[in-house]
């Protein structure tokens, strides 16, 4: 593409303008069935094999809301410190676009199930920024379009489009922030941190895997600039479907630079949607939002109101897990690690496996050492996430237990881990099959030590003469003879004992 956009430098933009953002995040729930019918939500099924008269909008069909969908919406609302509506309705959002076979999307309009909350997000240097939540409401996903005949699958220039409605009707929760003001130059960072924190919250609630790469969580970034020192919001642009954390930050940054260029040259910002391009981090114009707001919402007559009993809401509140930020800070203190180390563990996706390994009985430092060392390296080589490795926290804990008991040394433990990852079975099975146990048989060790002394008389004499450091060479010889399976500390003790030297 050869679209060039005038930009000013980020620093210059911030010198004159103050960014205001609004973030809309869609989360696809992990329910077994769709929001209003019993069709399966399994990903990757054959095209149009998960539809029924209700999600196809055929005459005479009636929707019924998914109880887990409502429960998940309430949990999300509570986790975001929202009030939960005592009574709310669904609404039809009418529009003509073939991604919804009904010609409307069932959503909520002026009565969202959750409203007026906030989420505290922590930036990388530890600063906490409060993002206020306007609302979280229930709706449904749309079908998947494939555009045929144009360049690279784009809708522009396509001769026709093909629709797969498997995704149409999958439960979505849309979470909308209030205008985020006062972030200044850190606005793109705040946007990224907010989406990251929201993802952690959603995952901790176990209502969705919230994988952005799988489209289970998608973000629209609204952004406007106003001259520094002024109150009134400028005209905003809405960058749609920004689908990674890094992209959220880049999209906000790009739009700040673009808006500033337009405004500082005396131009005006057009209120429009924009498309984000992963390859170069730019945005380009989408459709102009002239009458797009005219969705003629009206209460959905086919679905009765949802009036969550206060007892139910309180029960759900009581069952909420510890919130991720609180948990992270607690773990950081318990483990005595720095903010930076904690961040590395988070970025590596190592926190949950480490906690599970500790729960399975491993000392915290050992659990961290294996997941952030050997296992992280292995995952990196295989291009996998840590939790996709074929080793369980329990197995890692077992390895640390074998090390603690003196049955394995570090070198052997690495080989055991390697064996488990290669599918050779549990740690004990790998030790057995590969013959990796530390030689703790004193007779065998003593023999190896005597042999090493006999073969290295010159070194032995040095040690007798008081050069204890020279023992390292003999330890090496013994380790070699036992193929690394001896306990090095014990070997050193035996050598010094044999030579009559105090360690």
């Amino acid at each position: 593409m050869t679209v060039t956009t005038d930009l000013v430098s980020y620093e210059d933009a911030l010198a004159s303008y103050d960014p205001v953002m609004g973030l809309e995040v869609h989360v696809e729930l992990g329910t077994k069935t769709k929001m209003f019918c019993g069709c399966s939500t399994t990903l990757g099924a054959d095209a149009n094999s998960q539809t029924c008269p209700t999600c196809l909008g055929l005459p005479g069909s009636l929707p019924v809301v998914n109880a887990i969908g409502v429960e998940s919406a309430i949990k999300i609302g509570l986790a975001l410190n929202c009030s939960i509506a005592e009574w709310c309705r669904f609404a039809r959002k009418n529009y003509f676009y073939p991604d919804m076979p009904k010609n409307f999307q069932t959503s909520q309009y002026d009565e969202p199930i959750a409203f007026d909350g906030y989420l505290d997000v922590q930036l990388e240097d530890g600063e906490v920024f409060r993002v206020e939540i306007e609302r979280a409401h229930m709706e449904e996903d749309t079908g998947k379009s494939t555009h045929v005949g144009g360049a690279t699958g784009r809708i522009h220039g396509a001769s026709h489009s093909l629709l797969d409605y498997n995704r149409a009707g999958i439960p979505l929760i849309e979470i909308v922030t209030k205008p985020i003001e006062g972030a200044g130059e850190r606005a793109p960072e705040v946007a990224k941190a907010y989406v990251a924190e929201l993802r952690e919250v959603i995952k901790s609630l176990d209502v969705s895997e919230a994988r952005m790469d799988k489209g289970q969580m998608r973000c629209d970034v609204n952004l406007s600039l106003r001259p520094n020192g002024t109150k009134e919001f400028g005209t905003r642009s809405e960058t749609k479907n920004v689908n990674s954390l890094r992209s959220v930050e880049r999209a906000a940054r790009f739009e700040i630079q673009r808006h500033a260029a337009v405004l500082s040259s005396g131009g005006t910002i057009v209120q429009e949607t924009r498309h984000f391009h992963e390859d170069d981090g730019s945005t380009t114009s989408g459709r102009i939002k002239d009458n797009a707001e005219d969705y003629r919402y009206f209460p959905e007559p086919d679905l009765v109101p949802v009036a969550p009993a206060r007892e139910w809401v309180e029960e759900l509140r009581a069952g909420l897990p510890e919130m991720p930020r609180v948990r992270r800070n607690r773990l950081r203190e318990e483990w005595g690690v720095t903010e930076h180390d904690m961040q590395s563990m988070l970025n590596a996706g190592a926190v949950d496996p480490i906690v599970a390994t500790i729960d399975a009985g491993a000392p915290a430092d050992q659990a961290r050492k294996w997941w952030m060392g050997e296992l992280a390296r292995n995952a990196n080589e295989q291009g996998k996430a840590l939790d996709e490795l074929s080793i369980t926290p329990e197995q890692v804990a077992r390895v640390t237990a074998l090390v603690a008991a003196g049955d394995l040394n570090d070198k052997l433990a690495r080989q055991v881990i390697e064996g488990v990852l290669a599918g050779e079975g549990d740690p004990d099975a790998v030790v057995e099959k590969r013959g990796l146990k530390v030689v703790s048989d004193e007779g065998a060790l003593t023999a190896a030590v005597e042999e090493a002394i006999a073969g290295n008389q010159a070194i032995a004499d040095k040690i007798r003469g008081g050069k204890v450091a020279a023992a390292g060479a003999l330890v090496g010889a013994v380790m070699k003879a036992t193929r690394g399976q001896a306990d090095a500390a014990r070997v050193k003790e035996l050598i010094l004992e044999k030579l009559g030297v105090e360690g």
């Binding site: 019993g38 095209a47 094999s49 029924c52 055929l58 109880a67 009418n94 522009h156 396509a158 489009s161």
Partner: protein, 98 residues
């Protein structure tokens, strides 16, 4: 009293993807005016203390367990489609060249 203009009828027609001739705009503007007028009479009797009714039955919280039910086969789902391709619903061009 509501008064609906030709322009409003044209706008609604565009939103509903209806192509109306000029004389139809006048015709429907009059008819819609009558309908809105009739409906507006309700507000003469419904005071502030009568909540707007969207549902005729006093039901709330009708929910379904999250259990998978059989779907249609792709053949059944597509059986009413005017056109199909690759087991998908085929629809005309969405956006023109612009």
């Amino acid at each position: 009293m509501p008064g609906i203009t030709r322009e409003e009828v044209a706008h609604l027609a565009r939103l509903a993807r209806l192509e109306l001739k000029d004389e139809e705009l006048d015709h429907f503007a009059g008819q819609l005016d009558d309908i809105l007028g009739a409906v507006a009479r309700v507000s003469e009797v419904a005071d502030q203390d009568v909540p707007p009714t969207s549902h005729p039955l006093p039901l709330t919280n009708v929910m379904r367990a999250d259990e998978v039910r059989p779907s249609l086969t792709p053949e059944q789902a597509l059986s009413g489609a005017p056109a199909q391709e690759q087991q998908r619903f085929k629809v005309p061009q969405i956006l023109g060249e612009d």
